[in-house]
Each structure stands twice: as C-alpha cells, then as structure tokens.
C-alpha cells in the first residue's frame, strides 16, 4: 500500500516528459512510429545485403570495364573485356555447354523424378525406406560424389563400369576422356544427386490432388492414361513449374560436379564439359584476370535474369 502514492506520483511525472520532450519521435503518430521501427529492424538485413551483395555486385559490374590482376592498379579498358569475350570461341563453346546442361538436365531429371514419384506414391511396401534411399544422394556432398563417380568412369583396371564391360567382353567406353561422352557422363551424377529432392516435391504435389477427382474418373471408367493426362499432370502444374525453376537455376550454375570430375584438366577434354561458372573461376583464380572474369560474371547474371524472368512469367499464367 505504501507504494500507492508513488504510483500516483509517477504517472504525472511520466506524462510530463512525454509532453515536454516533444522531440521528433514524440510528434510521430502511432503508425509512423510503427513504420520507423519496422525500418529500424529492416535496416539490419538491408545493410547486410548492401555490404555483402549489392556493393560487390555493383563493383563487379564496374570491374568488368577494367583490367586488374589483384596486384596492380585497376585500369579502365572500356568494353574490351566484352569484345574479347564475344570473339572468344571458348566462350561460345562454354555457352553451348551451359545450355546443354540446362536443356538435357532439367527435362531428364523432371521426367525421371516424376516417374519415380508417381510409382512410389502407389507403393506401400517399405515406402519410407525406398523414399529415404532416393533422398540419400541429395544429402551427400557433391564433391565426394563427383570423385566416386570419377573413379567409376575410369578405364580398366580401376573403373567400375569399364571393368563390368570388360568382364563380359565388351569394348571399353571412354566416359570422361571423350569430347562427346564427357558432358552426359558428368551430368548423370548431377541429375541423380538432385532426384531425391524433386521426388519429395512431386510426391507432396501428388498427395495434394483431391482423391475425389480420381474417384469420379473411376466411376466414369476413364483409362489410366487419360487420368494421368487430364487430371494428374494439369493439377501438378504449380509443382512442375517450381521444380523447373529450381533445377534450371541449379544446372545453369553447375560447377562442383564438373570441377571435381575433371580437376586435372578443368572443363576438359577440349573444353567440352566446361560450364560458364568454371570458366569464370579459371579466369579469376588461375589467370588472375579479374576484369575479364567480371565481364563473364555479368553475362552469367544476364542469362540467369532472363531465364528467371521467363519462368516468373510462366508462374504468373497460373
């Protein structure tokens, strides 16, 4: 009870400073204060992004018009880096490779993961175990996986695949040491690694389709194919678009599998497996030609931007 008077005392006291303070903050309305606080909290991630993302991005764009080997001064050289880039046959080879990874990798992984998910959805026996088995590669380190596959692909006497071929009397196949086979050989484990994730997403999409549609189709006596084409696939469209967006960005940025499977001759043989990201890496950290590498980065940025815009457009249609 003794505290009562003090409470009465403090109320006017507290009011008083609020009125007399009358500063900038005091004069704000509740809404404005809310906005101010929102910005105060947002400032932390924004500042982080400005320092960690936007500043280096802008800097890279400026750098793409300069020459720099890290050691000396940066010197302007106009659009020379871009001219060199577009007149470099290796760049166009790398450009084709990058799109080969995208255009083979995305549809193949999409079809395989859908087929697996579609059937796995209907399997009850050891469903969880099988699903986990498909998911394991996704959790495995890409580097470790790339090296294991690299050894699988070797010639006799150490390569698993060629030893199997040789033991049944079939001629060896040059998996990595070939300008035509190397890219698909590297793509295979990359696709395999991503399957688990895509299967999980597909299965979630399949589960989300109301059973009633299927029951109605059953009553009407529609064939399995029609059910697939008319019900399942159209209703899976958002799932498909999501997977396409994610996997195409992944394949456009493929690096670890290629680099680790071809470390001795990165992107080889004869540049036949080199993606853009690996070219950037080599230009920057083997040749220390930072300006040229930055120009390549800007080109990759533009490609990713265009692909993402197209895909956003597709999403909007939905």
């Amino acid at each position: 009870m003794a505290s009562n008077p003090s409470i009465h005392d403090t109320i006017p006291q507290e009011k008083q400073p609020a009125v007399t303070r009358g500063g900038f903050y005091g004069r704000l309305s509740i809404n404005q204060k809310r906005t101010l606080w929102a910005w105060a909290f947002l400032a932390v991630p924004i500042l982080f992004y400005v320092v960690i993302r936007f500043y280096p991005t802008g800097n890279a764009m400026v750098l793409s018009f300069q020459e720099w080997n890290l050691l000396g001064d940066r010197t302007w050289n106009g659009v020379d880096n871009y001219i060199t880039l577009f007149s470099d046959p290796v760049f166009w080879q790398v450009f084709r490779n990058t799109f080969a990874y995208l255009l083979i990798g995305t549809p193949v992984s999409l079809v395989i993961s859908f087929i697996i998910a579609y059937h796995l959805d209907q399997v009850r026996f050891m469903h969880g175990t099988i699903r986990a088995l498909y998911f394991v590669p996704f959790m495995t380190s890409a580097v470790a996986m790339a090296w294991v596959w690299r050894w699988f692909y070797q010639d006799v006497p150490i390569g698993l695949f060629n030893n199997m071929l040789a033991s049944v009397g079939i001629a060896q196949i040059d998996f990595l040491d070939s300008t035509t086979n190397a890219l698909p050989s590297i793509l295979a484990p990359a696709i395999w690694a991503g399957l688990g994730f895509q299967i999980i997403i597909f299965m979630a999409g399949l589960r989300a389709i109301p059973r009633t549609f299927y029951e109605a189709a059953k009553i009407d006596g529609v064939s399995t194919w029609t059910v697939l084409w008319e019900i399942t696939l159209p209703l899976l469209r958002p799932t498909i678009v999501f997977i396409v967006v994610l996997s195409s960005i992944g394949f456009l940025r493929i690096f670890d599998h290629v680099f680790n499977m071809t470390t001795a001759n990165p992107g080889g043989p004869l540049n036949s497996t080199k993606p853009l990201v690996l070219m950037i890496y080599q230009t920057a950290f083997d040749s220390f030609d930072m300006g040229y590498a930055a120009a390549q980065t800007v080109v990759l940025f533009v490609i990713l931007l265009i692909v993402s815009l197209i895909q956003l457009r597709l999403l909007k249609d939905r």
Binding site: N69, L71, R150, D155, P157, T179, A264, S287
Partner: protein, 418 residues
C-alpha cells in the same frame, strides 16, 4: 588469424620491451615471414628461424602460413593492401606481376650482387634477375627425374634406361594387357596435365635439337621440325602401346599403385613415395636424347622482401634473406624437406650429388632450364589441348602443333602487351 594475433602480441611485446629498455644499444625488431603450409617446410623454417634468432638476438622472426589452396589469392590480396609480411615466399612464376606492381624490393646489390648469384647458384636461378638486379632468391629448387618400379623391372628383366630409346624399349617390356587387349599396367605413365608439359617443353624439344622459346621466353619457337619431332615422339608412346594417358586417373596414382614401371615426376614426389607401402622404387636422371643431349626443367619458390619492409625492418629482412640463401640453410632444407639446394656448392658435394634419391635430381640441375611462364595454367592447357586434338579428334599432329604454338604466343603477347 591466430598467427596474426600472435604477431600483434609479439609486436606489442617487442615495442614494450623497446620502450622499457630505451637506453639499450640494439633495438629489437620483429619481421614477418609468410609461406604456405606443408609440414616439412614449416618444420624446416622453424629450425632456420631458431638458428637465425640465436645469431641475431635483437631480431624476431614471426612465421605465418596458410593452406596452399588459398596461398596465392591471400598473398595477392594482402600484400597490395599493405597487410602483408616483410618477407614472402612466392612461386617464381608469380614474380613478374609482383615486380611490375612494385610490391617487392630489389635485393641490395652489395650483398646479392648479380656476379655472386651467377657464379654460386645453379644457372636457372638467373631467371630472377631483372635490369641487373635480383628481386628474389630461392633456398631450394626442384627438378624432374625418372622414377622406376624396381619390382616390375626385375619381373620383366629390364635395366634402368638412360636414353629415350632404351626407355621406350623398357616400357614396352613392362606393359601388360588383359585378354581383350586392355592395358592393365603401363610401361610409362603419361599425362600432359601432370609434369609432362614441362618434359615436353624443356626436355623433349631441346633433345630434338630445338629451343622451345626465344627472346627470353616471349616467343614460341616449337612450331618447327624439332617441335614436330618431339610431338611425334610423345604421341608415339601411346601409339606404340607403352602408355595410356589418364591411366588410373593420375600418373602418380598408377605409379604408387604398382601399376606403372616408369614415371616422370618432380623431387617433391619423394615424400609421398616414401609413404607408399609395398612400393620398391628407384630414381634416375631423365633419359638422354637421340644425340645424347640432356635437359631438365626446374621450378622453385623464392623469398622476396616486400615493399612494406622499411628502416630497421628492412635491414633485418636483408639479414634474414642472407641466412635463407646461405649454404647452411640449404643443407637444412634438403635434410628436412627433401628439396634441392639452390647453390651449386651445396648441391654438388660428393655426398649430395651421389645420394641415391636426391642425386639424380641434383645432377639434373646442372643442365636444367626454367620456363618463364606468363600464365602457367593457361600455357599448360595449350599443350593438353594439343595432344587431345590429335588423340580425341584425329587432327593432324602438325596442324595441332601449329594451333598450340599460335595459342601460346597469343597468351605471351597478351601478357607482355605486344
């Protein structure tokens, strides 16, 4: 980071000591030394620093090291930013860029005169001279030699070869195939991605009567008969079936796995081979050419004084450089790391030059050449592609050789701004 903190502490301690002993005659100086991490190198350097500090009690040397994978980038970022050490270890091939950017200082001519270096060091060290001044010097150097698997040689009943012809014959005798004709054991390992591009450039071309470059390594000079002969010899190894490029993924893996009779590699491989159980290996000089010509390729890491060393630190750095390039330091480095002494008087002692393991490498130094690369990985790639165009795309070797020479010339022209 930890090292930097320790350095800062040490610096603080020394400056505090200097403050306290303001009347002391000799002022304490701390200098910083950087190299990449390789256990034996770090141990050897610890020993050198200890000896040096004992002889120069007023100088403290702090060593910082980081993993090899980051070393080039981190020094390239730190040194221009003024955060670098006073003495830095650099690969000889990076030196030009550091000199151009004025990040390292020439060594004082009174202590490291060009005449002294030319008469006392192995000849390839002269690549470190520019405009009459030396900018850096190595403690140790590396060269190539021919490793052989004694057990496989005994099994095939062949002697250690001394010429290219003998090498091919011995490799033929030691190659093994399965019933389908697949190679299961190679006579000689090959792979341009490993050391073969050095063997091709500095050894084979010279042995065929050529000179790989002219004008101080600014002009490619192998698109000619000698270059073609070297290329034909190299391609012939695979055509004759005594090798298979990419066999067991890496040449050194095939050799360590007892699946290769001969293997050309650098002195830095000795440690790894010593650790391979069940491998009975020996080493001999690179085989001589058709007319008896011998050649070798040598590379090395050099020590240089950076531009951030000034005043007392500069003087201390010069003293430390003198010790690092002294015969005593070189012998320690050979004993601890197994890298070859850069001074002829240390290398060519009776004991070192006839050493079973180091001898062939050290003797190779006498006729070794050092390629001055503008961009080693890009120049290596040129030769890798040259072989692959022939082997994978059936291109005419002469045409592939011309393309390679042109591509490498373009890299050199671009670098030297011509």
């Amino acid at each position: 980071m930890k090292m930097n903190f320790r350095t800062a502490l040490a610096a603080l301690a020394t400056s505090a000591a200097a403050l306290g002993a303001s009347g002391a005659a000799a002022q304490e100086v701390t200098i910083e030394y950087w190299q990449y991490f390789f256990e034996a190198r770090v141990n050897a350097m610890d020993q050198l620093i200890e000896n040096f500090e004992a002889a120069n009690p007023n100088i403290n040397v702090e060593m910082t090291h980081f993993p090899y994978a980051d070393y080039r980038t981190r020094t390239a970022v730190a040194v221009p930013a003024g955060e670098g050490p006073d003495i830095v270890q650099l690969f000889y091939g990076w030196l030009n860029d550091y000199i151009d950017a004025e990040l390292i200082q020439p060594l004082p001519a009174d202590r490291f005169s060009p005449e002294m270096v030319e008469s006392e060091f192995f000849p390839m060290v002269q690549a470190m001279e520019r405009d009459g001044q030396y900018f850096a010097l190595p403690t140790a150097v590396r060269s190539l030699a021919l490793f052989y698997n004694q057990r496989l040689l005994d099994a095939a009943g062949v002697e250690v070869p001394t010429t290219l012809d003998e090498l091919v014959a011995a490799a033929e005798a030691t190659t093994e195939r399965d019933g389908a004709g697949n190679i299961t054991q190679v006579g000689l390992t090959t792979g341009m991605t490993a050391q073969d591009h050095h063997w091709f450039r500095e050894v084979l071309i010279r042995q065929m009567g050529g000179e790989p470059y002219t004008d101080g390594y600014r002009n490619v000079n192998y698109d000619n008969e000698a270059g073609r002969a070297a290329l034909d010899f190299y391609l012939g190894l695979e055509e004759q079936g005594v090798t298979q490029s990419g066999f067991m993924d890496e040449p050194q893996a095939a050799f360590r796995g007892n699946r290769a009779a001969f293997h050309i590699d650098g002195s830095f491989r000795i440690g790894a081979l010593n650790d391979s159980r069940g491998l009975d290996w020996g080493v001999t000089e690179l085989p001589a050419g058709p007319d008896g010509t011998r050649s070798n390729y040598s590379s090395y890491w050099v020590n240089a004084i950076t531009s951030s060393a000034e005043g007392a630190e500069y003087d201390a750095a010069v003293l430390f450089m003198e010790y690092l390039t002294s015969p005593e330091a070189m012998q320690i480095w050979l004993d601890v790391v197994g890298e070859l002494p850069a001074r002829a008087e240390v290398g060519m002692t009776e004991e070192n030059a006839n050493n079973e393991v180091f001898g062939p490498f050290i003797r190779g130094l006498e006729y070794a050449n050092t390629t001055i690369f503008a961009d080693e990985s890009a120049q290596r790639q040129v030769l890798v592609d040259m072989i692959e165009r022939v082997q994978l795309q059936d291109m005419d070797p002469g045409e592939s050789l011309s393309i390679a020479a042109e591509a490498e010339q373009a890299i050199l022209d671009d670098y030297y701004g011509e």
